[in-house]
């Protein structure tokens, strides 16, 4: 890791977050869409409070996961070929680029999760007793989905079918994050949630390693 690694990574993260701040897509489109998805579920499964209480945490993370996919899809369209060429010729470290994009996506996903958490608590009347674990689960989910999304978007970039492919690439591989997040919160420490937390941590580490190892080959994709 060279001196400019973090300078480059943070510059890229800042670029993506600035672009998001200007476009407002997460704030004004994705979040309301997520909220409406959470609203739709009780309309489909019934408004029995016991049922909603049981499925609420799971539905929250299903919505988070699906919108993590949307973030990844959006990323395939975020950079033009000219922009990719330009940043490559600036001498960007591919691993720094992976790190920067992941940081930016993680921040946006975490923001999305927090807002969706509030919506879910309101609509589903969830039991708050283990929700302190959200302080760990939400960041882990955000980082894991961001890593998966960044890698998948890089794989699918510049393919016409890219935006359609990314959901298929991301969704099955995000299952450990979905299960880990839901089980950690629902089981709590008395139910043995530490193993789920460890699994999530392992997933985040594995994805980080894959992202680092494949960063250079993916940067070379034109």
């Amino acid at each position: 890791m060279h001196d400019r690694f973090w300078q480059q990574a943070l510059a890229i993260a800042r670029r993506d977050l600035d672009r998001e701040r200007r476009s407002g897509e997460v704030a004004w489109v994705t979040i309301p869409f997520g909220a409406s998805a959470l609203l739709l579920v009780p309309l489909a499964v019934g408004i029995n409070q016991d049922v909603l209480g049981r499925i609420g945490t799971g539905m929250l993370f299903v919505v988070v996961m699906l919108f993590g996919v949307l973030t990844a899809v959006r990323r395939t369209n975020l950079e033009t070929p000219a922009q990719r060429d330009a940043i490559t010729l600036l001498g960007v470290d591919p691993v720094a680029e992976f790190a920067g994009k992941t940081i930016a996506s993680s921040v946006l996903l975490l923001l999305f999760e927090v807002v969706m958490g509030v919506v879910a608590l309101t609509l589903y009347g969830l039991d708050l007793s283990n929700w302190g674990w959200m302080g760990v689960v939400m960041p882990l989910t955000a980082v894991g989905l961001a890593e998966l999304g960044t890698i998948s978007a890089a794989i699918a970039i510049s393919i016409d079918a890219g935006p359609a492919l990314v959901p298929l690439l991301v969704t099955p591989l995000a299952i450990p994050l979905l299960l880990g997040a839901t089980q950690t919160v629902e089981l709590g420490p008395d139910g043995g949630n530490l193993s789920w937390l460890l699994l999530m941590t392992a997933v985040v580490l594995v994805l980080a390693i894959v992202g680092v190892v494949t960063a250079r080959p993916l940067q070379e994709i034109r």
């Binding site: 400019r4 300078q7 480059q8 510059a11 890229i12 670029r15 600035d18 672009r19 200007r22 476009s23 033009t80 070929p81 000219a82 922009q83 060429d85 330009a86 940043i87 490559t88 010729l89 600036l90 001498g91 960007v92 250079r216 070379e220 034109r222």
Partner: protein, 197 residues
Amino acid sequence: MATVLRDVDLTVAGGESVGLFGANGAGKTTLLRVVGTLLRPSAGSARVLGADLDTDERFTIRRRVGMIGHNPALYPELSLLANLEFSARIAGAPVATARGVLGDVGLGAAADRLAGEASYGMQRRVEFARELMLQPDLLLLDEPHSALDPSAVELVEHIVAGVLARSGAVVVASHDVARVAPMVTRTAELAGGSLHA
């Protein structure tokens, strides 16, 4: 998929500026992108700035290569200044010089304008500002006069002269022989995928 370049034999020394001409579809842009390390040739060998393009050496020279292509590479949601500052941060150049360089290219008053709201010509000037700031050893220009007014054309010539003065090299791809002539030391024609120069 078809072969674009077949028989290319090109040598450019430090201090030289080569004008690359050819019809539409002749492969000028492809050749520039190969020389710029963005495309890997499927056959043959190439050395650019001492690096073998068929090995990982090509990654080491990228920072020394500047390229301005057809399509501006600015981020439309960021201001002209923010775009330039971003380039500086990635390339390791002093970020504080960005505003001054933007003024040098005549965009000082438009620094805070969003790139998406700037004209094509303005965006091109920002890209020239980037190369002024980064001072590449090899500058690749693809249709550099496109959408530039006369004062901006002088800017291009100034940038080319600066690269040559540092014993760097320039390759200019263009249809416009007359406008490119003042900034090149020799010319080469790409036809039928073939070039010898």
